[in-house]
Symmetry: C2
Subunit: 263 residues, 2 copies
């Protein structure tokens, strides 16, 4: 860890598409001019792994790059594992910012719950570090991140200047392609994945299922959601909380003390 | 699916400790007298799997019990996979309630993010089905769930009578042992896992890390949190939202339009 200085901002980067994905390279290139960079990322795709942590097998860490101001490690674990390992073990000091992504594919609306990329960002927020998850609406391994980068820089600049409140992180999604119109700060749309399971038989004639499906926006009329922003070619920024308490229902249930509580 | 009737409530049950765990048996015994029951649960422990879904390997489903009013399937997938498979493929009709657990070990405070049990409950809520995650503060495979059951029944009775608002689910934790004092509806405590990684060398002299740690309540003075309730031997009920938008930060960022947005 001798090549990481103490006088520049330290960026910790992870993703869920694996260390070789183009999206993570785009983030490294974005921040290398302004700080020191440590990448701790999965050795393969951990897509759909949410905020999972690895408890039943040991984690192996392999250093793959060691240059002035840039260290890269790969881990046989999830994005949340990578952040934990970095913060607790690999780094000599607390990172100033955590960036996760850029995910190859959307993480808007309900996808925030399934996303390993956002699991990495949430883990950063749980550690009290300003954290941002980035995703591009293009699942291709060959996706072009160049059009998204000016907007990613802008969001990051805001966070560097203003910080983020404790317990929050940002979920940033970029429409794919040219002519992005700007950035919209929005709320998480109500939506869900409408799954279908492909049903087949394996060579031993055992029936198996394979998850597939498409996303459905459950409030297509709303204009203040991330889905609306993305459909209209704006970059969506959803501020997210690590506290998932539903305060409306909390107040309601507490009022119904006589019925609900057994004290 | 012919043995599941259409005229009794249908309970769908999953967990993350696997189909053989005592906690899932406790839930089945609780609801069998009042409805039909379908269990779709992992074939092994999927602890710490959060809301992960399986996208890179196929899922196999094996029927292990087929009695009047009780069907049990095991799946090589996560709790969220189990709920998706049940709702989309295995069941002829939408379940009336989804119960997840009873987890062997606490899922209070920040643990809600790592918990496969709560991933199953959240997946239920994403499907518009009233869903409850239950956890007992005892990690043992031999944990005794009997003292928790009157309180589990009480929470379930409330939900059967009143329903739950769309997009919410309940995170219910039981202290271990006797003399529980009652139920408290509370908010998610600010807390985090203070991890340490055990560092060892494997037989081939490769360094590996194994995740361990302990939970830390970051607001020990607060009396309205799940941690406070549990420490004082109350059952904690935290109403949780699938919408994780941080509304305070949303309003703040929207006010800073000139600085943050690029339209």
């Amino acid at each position: 860890m001798t090549k990481i200085s103490n006088n520049r901002p330290l960026f910790l980067i992870t993703n869920d598409d694996g260390i070789k994905a183009g999206g993570i390279k785009a983030l490294v290139e974005m921040v290398r001019p302004i700080g020191d960079v440590v990448v701790v990322a999965p050795n393969q795709s951990y897509s759909g792994m949410s905020h999972a942590i690895t408890v039943s097998v040991p984690l192996y860490v392999k250093e793959v790059v060691n240059e002035d101001g840039l260290l890269v490690y790969k881990v046989n674990g999830t994005p949340a594992d990578c952040i934990k390992l970095a913060v607790r073990t690999l780094l000599d000091r607390k990172p100033d910012y955590i960036l996760s992504g850029i995910n190859h594919g959307s993480n808007s609306s309900a996808s925030v719950h399934y996303s390993g990329t956002l699991g990495g960002a949430r883990e950063g927020a749980l550690n009290g570090i300003p954290s941002i998850g980035f995703s591009l609406l293009n699942y291709s391994y060959e996706a072009d991140f160049s059009k998204a980068m000016p907007f990613a820089r802008h969001v990051l600049s805001y966070v560097i200047k203003n910080g983020l409140p404790e317990g929050t992180f940002l979920n940033v999604n970029f429409p794919d392609g040219d002519s992005l119109k700007g950035i919209k700060v929005c709320r998480q749309a109500k939506g869900k994945w409408v799954e279908e399971f492909i049903e087949r038989k394996d060579p031993r004639q055992r029936r198996y299922f394979w998850l597939t499906g498409h996303f459905k926006n459950l409030e297509p009329q709303a204009t203040d959601t991330d889905e609306y922003a993305l459909e209209n070619r704006y970059v969506s920024v959803v501020p997210c909380s690590i506290d998932i308490t539903d305060n409306d229902l909390l107040v309601h249930l507490q009022k119904m003390k006589h019925e609900f509580q057994m004290q």
